[in-house]
Symmetry: C2
Subunit: 193 residues, 2 copies
């Protein structure tokens, strides 16, 4: 499995890292030895909403070769959802099987047309914005539509990452990753539709 | 208040970002308008244990001018705790009031001599390593010694960050930051000694 972590200026870094941590443990802890991942953006470097500067692995490369794209949220999504060049690049992920977002990352998936007719969620402060892309806005922490999985605000990234660890590698893998992350909480039960 | 976020190669990014997110919201959400922070390292860029590359604000600058230093954990701490140059740099934080760590970051604080006679914690898999620096290893998620505050593994970074939001700006600030982070969990009650 090949994962594209999409990043952009004014993302919320915890949206990204809270998901990236458990998912990358699928390889580093030996559960999915063939898992690969790349940090993908339109620029060589991105700066998050607090000034953190992250370097990018793949700059403005088409996304169709990935099995999963992950889009975090952050204030940057407010303008990027209407940025034709950015959304066109996200649309290059159309053939990718899994589309995953946390927080307002779902606005980007929506702008790319990936939410049509689908249940989806976002940060609780952005439900109205999400309604522009689907009438099926679900006020839950994790919404699983099979190949489209959306999460709630910022810290739901960890729950969503662990949830996909379980989907991709089973309960024992998820439990051991969760223990290694020293995460004692029980994730809100995901919604399936 | 001026915060130094210490980073290094082979850190665990979630140890850092899980703490940095709530703490920086103290300024971005208006509770501590004078809060400043810098990402500090011995190199212009660091690479975490999964290949994420983060750029650094202050390269090998003395740390004594900060009010708080924060040290995350990660496999990098295993060698850095015995690296005289690195630990000498960390010791330049001796005058800083608050010393804070998550996960195996406490090994670095210990190697710098900041844990002598103090209760402290670390990742549950590293309690034995921490015992080299203090006999008072406490198996709790947050250990508050007043000016020295240590956290457990990886995801305890969020609980520790929120805990310090409450210490520095009060319950209402912490509650609003926690809500904005969409974090529904009740942190394990901190230990005070």
């Amino acid at each position: 499995m090949k994962v594209a972590f999409i990043v952009f200026d004014n993302l919320t870094m915890l949206d990204f890292v809270g998901f990236q941590d458990p998912i990358t443990r699928l390889r580093t802890m030996g559960y999915l030895p063939d898992l690969e991942w790349r940090v993908c953006a339109q620029t060589p470097e991105v700066t998050d909403g607090t000034g953190l500067r992250l370097k990018v692995d793949e700059i403005h490369q088409p996304l169709e070769g990935y099995d999963l794209i992950f889009v975090p949220g952050g204030m940057g999504t407010r303008s990027l959802k209407d940025d034709e060049d950015f959304i066109g690049w996200i649309r290059s992920a159309t053939p990718c099987r899994y589309k995953v977002s946390v927080c307002t990352g779902s606005l980007i998936l929506g702008a790319a047309g990936f939410l049509e007719g689908k249940n989806a969620t976002t940060h609780p402060a952005a439900y109205d914005l999400l309604a522009a892309y689907t009438p099926k806005v679900v006020r839950e922490r994790i919404v699983d539509e099979g190949d489209l999985i959306t999460g709630g605000g910022v810290s739901s990234s960890i729950d969503l990452g662990l949830y996909l660890c379980e989907r991709f590698a089973g309960t024992e893998a998820r439990q051991k990753i969760q223990k290694q992350m020293d995460y004692p909480y029980q994730a809100a039960f995901p919604v399936r539709h």
